[in-house]
Amino acid sequence: MQVSVFYFAMLREQRGRADESLHVEAGLTVGGLYEQIFAAGSIGAMSIMYAVNQSYVSADHMLAENDEVAFIPPLGGG
């Protein structure tokens, strides 16, 4: 199934792009997708928040067709 993925801040720089459409297997969790993409990443999954369709979800949230996924690195607003 297809999902769109958005990257921000250091994750965007590390990935070299702001967004992309990815084909993922059914049953994959949002945390699982993060580990697939940033397996050797410098930012551990413990410091990442996840958003699906622009709402925060936990790492074990199951992805669905056409989901909009965003990996939220440590925030800096304010």
Partner: protein, 143 residues
């Protein structure tokens, strides 16, 4: 008024959106960019956001505050892109019937913004740059 903007924030205009006759207290908080961090000289700051979600989270914070402090009016405006030193990166204006609620609601809003609104800040120094994370969020348990 809830907004992300590339422009210098017009503080008076933001405050005017919360003024009303029943409000005995009007309070404005400005978060201003500093010129140093841990002794390193900052040249400039760059903000980016997950735009639609950031605006939705700001609106949720405003709604939470209104539910908690009846009679509250609140406006939150955050800068995006390049922000010059000494400029406001965020302005939060509140008005309430009495002052206690104004102080509490203002503090609630900036604290909530820092831990749940998807906005990021890059501090650029003469010798490098860093994505500066807020303290106290879920990212730094125990801090």
């Amino acid at each position: 008024m809830i907004a992300l903007t590339q422009e210098v924030i017009d503080v008076d205009a933001v405050v005017d959106t919360v003024r009303r006759d029943a409000a005995g207290a009007v309070l404005v908080f400005e978060g201003v960019t500093r010129d140093t961090h841990d002794g390193r000289g900052v040249i400039r700051l760059e903000y980016e956001a997950y735009g639609q979600m950031a605006e939705a989270e700001l609106k949720a914070i405003a709604a939470d505050a209104v539910a908690q402090w009846p009679g509250l009016r609140i406006a939150i405006v955050h800068r995006m892109g390049l922000v010059g030193l000494g400029e406001a990166s965020v302005v939060i204006a509140v008005s309430t019937p009495h002052r206690d609620a104004a102080y509490s609601a203002s503090r609630f809003a900036i604290d909530a913004l820092k831990v749940r609104v998807p906005i990021w800040k890059k501090e650029v120094y003469a010798d490098g740059s860093v994505w500066k994370a807020n303290a106290g969020g879920i990212h730094e348990p125990g801090s």
